[in-house]
């Protein structure tokens, strides 16, 4: 059993929708180890993204507790959670979410700069790592979808975070590009010992996972194999 990096205890998230309560997360207890590649499957609306947002401290649970690297998110406060995201978490989104006014290099360097590093060299190296050498000065709209997602991965990796949270990272890409991106993301995380939690509903993602989770109606269950997932 490895060292825990993410722990959630009895996690609930309720939303008030048109006058009646709806729970997106229903009492999730989970323990994720450092360096694990975890894939969280589930249908649209099952609560996957909500769970990811809770782990990132972008959203607060209605009930329950979240510990990242031993730190209780509720105790950290807004400033502490910002520092946590800045230093320990990397994000990869389905729609890339690059800043349109910054070049590829600037988008990657931005994450580094927020941590206080004033050297752009690691950003250049990370862009080279994701095979974007020569495209550093292009703006997002000058890049293809796959290239934009590589920039997003580089942005998440450059600060060497403990955890990368990826929300449908291939959801907006064609299957060939999606596979490439997936492989790249997993390989780089494995190489760096970074914990990767990836939300997906594409079954082929399962092949890259150390651990497979399925979310249904706000509850998480462990799935032993990819075949079991298919059923």
């Amino acid at each position: 059993m490895g060292e825990s990096i993410i722990r959630t205890y009895g996690l609930w998230k309720r939303y008030e929708v048109q006058g009646h309560d709806g729970a997106a997360i229903r009492g999730v207890d989970l323990d994720i180890q450092r360096g694990q590649i975890v894939v969280l499957f589930g249908k649209s609306g099952s609560g996957k993204t909500t769970y990811l947002n809770l782990i990132a401290g972008l959203d607060m649970p209605t009930k329950g507790r979240i510990e990242i690297d031993g730190q209780d998110l509720a105790v950290l406060g807004e400033a502490g959670r910002t520092l946590l995201r800045r230093n320990k978490l990397g994000f990869v989104f389905q729609f890339f979410n690059l800043l349109p006014t910054l070049t590829a290099l600037e988008n990657v360097y931005l994450a580094l700069e927020l941590t206080g590093v004033a050297d752009a060299k690691p950003a250049l190296e990370t862009l080279a790592l994701v095979d974007l050498r020569g495209k550093e000065n292009r703006y997002p709209h000058e890049l293809s979808g796959g290239e934009q997602q590589r920039v997003a991965i580089a942005r998440a990796l450059v600060k060497k975070p403990s955890i990368i949270l990826a929300d449908e990272p291939t959801g907006n890409l064609d299957s060939a590009t999606g596979t490439q991106i997936l492989a790249l993301l997993v390989e780089t995380c494995r190489a760096a010992g970074t914990t990767l939690i990836m939300v997906s509903h594409a079954l082929n993602t399962c092949e890259y996972a150390d651990r497979i989770l399925r979310m249904t109606d706000g509850r998480i269950v462990e799935v032993s194999t990819c075949e079991a997932l298919a059923h």
């Binding site: 972008l58 910002t82 995201r85 994000f91 931005l110 700069e113």
Partner: protein, 829 residues
């Protein structure tokens, strides 16, 4: 942090069309404020400069309460132990060819040396003999004058030139430098007395007093003594309300500018919200995001402000002439020169632009500070919930209107309270625009659908759907249009009130010498009196005085004549007031009554030639001649009190039933022309007054235009932003088969519909604004009642302005549609 700021700042370049519109909008708002402030300051500085230059080293002035001072008084002053220096002065105006009025000072070149440097400078640039010759000529040649360098250059005059004036030809003996820029002619006092028919009399004495109190004690009876400090206070009081109104007018334009900045900032937040969500997700703090946004807004504000500072300086060159003309028409002769360029204009513009931007962006900054990354990254936007906020915002509007009402109730305490009420009212009214849009759309949809088909219908729906974005643009435009309607309706009502006043009080058939610079010889009055058939001659004399430390004026008239021929409208009392006036009582104008709290039945004390006199006030009449107030008395009372026989003008009344009416009028005209006295028929006189009135409001009209220009940039910016923000939507329209023409129609329909809603709302707000200006501000600032008169013109002009501005505002977005729409696709990024 640099990257965060950079990511925000690049929007300025990335959306340069929009940035340019926003920058110009801010620039025009600041231009109006800087232009008006500079013009106002130029006028004040010019007044101070002229007063300082003309006052020289004098510490006090002595004059009669009204009219000229006997020359023999000088002997007494010269022997007074408290007086160090004495310099007699004649201070009048002459009219040169072309109608321009120029101040003429009559000075004693020997006595004046101790007070002013003008006499010392006569011929200073010449050698000894020539200098002596010039001085001798100035002293002994009738019509010899000195002319200031600016006027000489402008009129093409030099030493030896002869030029015509209303007082006869004058010959230039020397051109002297005048640092104040005010046109000035200087004559020897003896010649000036001859020119103005004032033998043995002067206008005032400038003095250096070493012991104030004992001097005042000795000269208290029959004289008006003013120290420099008192003179400055009198001047400030004289111009106070006028200046304040100018400043507030410029603030109105800046107010629209702040709306525009709010508009701009709000649009910026819409596009930055997603970026802010991303930044928060990757670890940026809210403070860093707010700072980056602030830098962007302030930079745009400062750049717009800098441009506004420069344009405001250029505008002040025009406004200073308009302000100078208005001051000259209403108060005293002034020809202010525009202030020279200073980098402070630039700094002031930057400060105003940045400060207005800070105020304008605060709500957006707060909104950005509350951005929930989870929501924005899911693609949910705040504007979707905007319609639900409409009711709450309208309720806030009601609260603002209540506050405005309370402030109007307290306006009698100070005019600033009234102005605060106006701004509360305008803010309150602007908060109803969301509701106005919600209520208008169901009405406009079928109309635009019929006129422009599906594009028109969708366009109107878009305004409702993007309420959060469109309501602020509509609010800014509505406020500008309301200012236009309100100021226009106020001016028209005021004009109608003045016409009503003229028709009731200025009913003479002919008016002789009403231009202020030519007095009527008393023997001419007697000469006219001998003409058979003249029903009555009103002898008019008006003199400025200081009453209870504030400026006011005394007017003397022939009460019998006015009783018979005029139709005075009384604020207190009625036609029965004339009988006591004939016996020595006075009537006062409404503005005098309000300013000094004097009512019918009260008594007032006036300082006459023989000391103070107590006079009964027998009535209060409507008057628009001066906001400082008029005390009107019969000429017999005036002569008894002041012994001033000067006649400023005559009003000739002839019975309408007189069969020789035409011939009498021609006869009077002929005799006046022989005497060189200007004559005006009633219509001409009324027209001249209305011309002065219109000239006075030239500044107001300029501000109306600027406010509409500011709002134009607002609505153009709003349309452009909608276009930029809805690219994805445009891609869907294209996929559905909407042609470029359809999109152009949709863009124009959106603009026109927004213009229409703005105009429709502004008719209500503008009318209410006019009533507030009339019933609260005018009453407080000028102490007179203006009657509201409905005229369609301000509404029609504003409707056309709204239509033209809406169409013009659509031009750039339409061009963008032509350029970009054919290539638009459905895409997420």
């Amino acid at each position: 942090m640099k990257s965060v700021i950079r990511s925000f700042l690049r929007y300025i370049v990335r959306r340069r069309g929009l940035s340019a519109l926003q920058l110009l909008g801010i620039a025009v708002g600041v231009t109006a404020a800087v232009g008006m402030m500079l013009a106002s300051r130029s006028a004040l500085k010019s007044i101070e400069g002229a007063v300082d230059f003309l006052r020289g080293g004098a510490t006090h002035t002595l004059e009669r309460p009204t009219g000229p001072l006997e020359e023999k008084v000088l002997a007494g002053l010269l022997t007074d132990p408290a007086v160090r220096t004495v310099a007699p002065v004649i201070d009048r105006q002459v009219r040169i060819e072309g109608g321009e009025r120029i101040r003429l000072l009559g000075l004693d070149p020997f006595l004046d040396r101790e007070i002013r440097s003008i006499a010392d400078r006569i011929g200073e640039s010449e050698s000894g003999d020539v200098r002596r010759k010039i001085f001798t000529s100035f002293l002994f040649d009738p019509g010899a004058v000195l002319v200031d360098a600016g006027t000489a250059k402008r009129l093409g005059l030099s030493a030896g030139s002869i030029f015509k004036t209303s007082q006869g030809p004058l010959r230039v003996v020397y051109v002297f430098p005048n640092p104040t820029g005010e046109p000035l002619i200087v004559a020897d006092i003896g010649h000036a007395q001859e020119l103005f028919g004032m033998r043995g009399a002067i206008d005032r004495v400038d003095m250096v007093i070493i012991d104030d109190d004992p001097f005042r004690a000795r000269w208290v009876r029959g004289f008006k003594i003013e120290s420099n400090h008192q003179k400055a206070e009198t001047l400030a009081a004289l111009l106070g309300a006028f200046e304040l109104n100018l400043q507030v007018l410029s603030l109105f334009a800046l107010f629209v500018g702040v709306f525009l900045i709010y508009n701009t900032a709000m649009f910026a937040v819409v596009s930055r919200r997603r970026d802010a969500g991303i930044l928060l997700a990757i670890g940026a703090s809210r403070r860093q995001i707010a700072a980056a946004f602030l830098v962007e807004v302030l930079l745009l504000g400062a750049a717009g402000g800098a441009l506004g500072g420069v344009l405001g300086f250029l505008l002040s060159g025009f406004l200073v002439k308009v302000v100078g003309n208005a001051i000259s028409s209403l108060y005293f002769f002034l020809k202010p020169a525009a202030l020279p360029w200073s980098f402070l204009n630039l700094a002031g513009g930057i400060f105003l632009g940045a400060a207005a931007s800070l105020v304008g962006c605060l709500p957006s900054l707060l909104e950005l500070g509350r951005v929930q990354p989870v929501r924005v990254l899911q693609g949910r936007t705040a504007s979707r919930s905007a319609p639900t906020k409409t009711k709450n915002i309208a309720l806030l509007g009601v609260l603002c209107l209540v506050v405005a009402g309370i402030l109007f109730g307290l306006a009698s305490r100070h005019v600033y309270v009234g102005f605060a009420g106006v701004f509360a009212f305008l803010i309150g009214a602007s908060l109803f625009t969301g509701l106005a849009i919600v209520l208008s759309v169901p009405v406009l949809k079928p109309l635009f659908s019929v006129a422009m088909g599906l594009s028109g219908k969708i366009a109107v729906g878009n305004i409702r759907e993007n309420l959060g974005r469109t309501s602020v643009a509509v609010a800014a435009f509505m406020i500008a249009l309301s200012l236009s309607i309100g100021l226009g309706a106020m001016i028209d009502s005021f004009r109608q009130s003045v016409v009503w006043w003229m028709n009731s009080q200025l009913r003479g058939d002919l008016y002789i010498s009403t231009k202020g610079d030519v007095n009527v010889p008393e023997d001419f009055y007697e000469e006219l009196g001998a003409i058979q058939g003249i029903g009555g001659i009103d002898i008019f004399r008006n003199v400025p005085i200081t009453f209870r430390g504030k400026p006011a004026s005394i007017t003397s008239i022939d009460a019998s004549v006015l009783q018979r021929y005029d139709r005075f409208v009384w604020f207190e009392g009625g036609g029965e007031n004339w009988e006591p006036v004939k016996r020595g009582s006075v009537i006062v104008s409404e503005s005098f009554s309000r300013r000094f709290g004097v009512k019918k039945g009260d008594r007032i004390s006036l300082e006459g030639a023989d000391g103070p006199s107590d006079l009964a006030v027998t009535g209060v009449f409507y008057d628009y001649s001066t906001e400082h107030g008029v005390i009107m008395m019969d000429r017999s009372t005036y002569l008894k009190l002041f012994r001033d026989r000067t006649i400023n003008s005559l009003g000739i009344f002839i019975d309408v039933t007189n069969p020789n009416r035409r011939q009498i009028i021609d006869e009077v005209k002929h005799r006046a022309l022989v005497r060189g006295l200007p004559v005006a028929t009633r219509e001409e006189f009324h027209k001249r007054i209305l011309d002065i009135f219109d000239g006075t409001f030239a500044v107001t009209r300029s501000m109306r235009v600027l406010a509409v220009i500011v709002a134009f940039f607002g609505i153009a910016g709003a349309l452009m932003t909608l276009f930029v923000e809805r690219r994805k939507e445009f891609g869907i329209y294209r996929a559905l088969g909407f042609s470029t023409g359809d999109m152009v129609r949709m863009t124009i329909a959106e603009s026109v519909a927004m213009g229409f809603i703005s105009f429709a709302t502004s008719t209500l707000v503008g009318t209410a604004f006019a009533l507030i200006l009339i019933k609260v501000i005018n009453l407080q600032s000028f102490n007179w009642t203006v009657f509201y008169h409905f005229t369609p013109q301000p509404y029609l002009v504003t409707a056309l302005t709204a239509l033209a501005a809406s169409l013009a505002a659509a031009a750039y977005p339409v061009w963008s549609v032509f350029r970009k729409y054919p290539a638009m696709q459905i895409r997420e990024e």
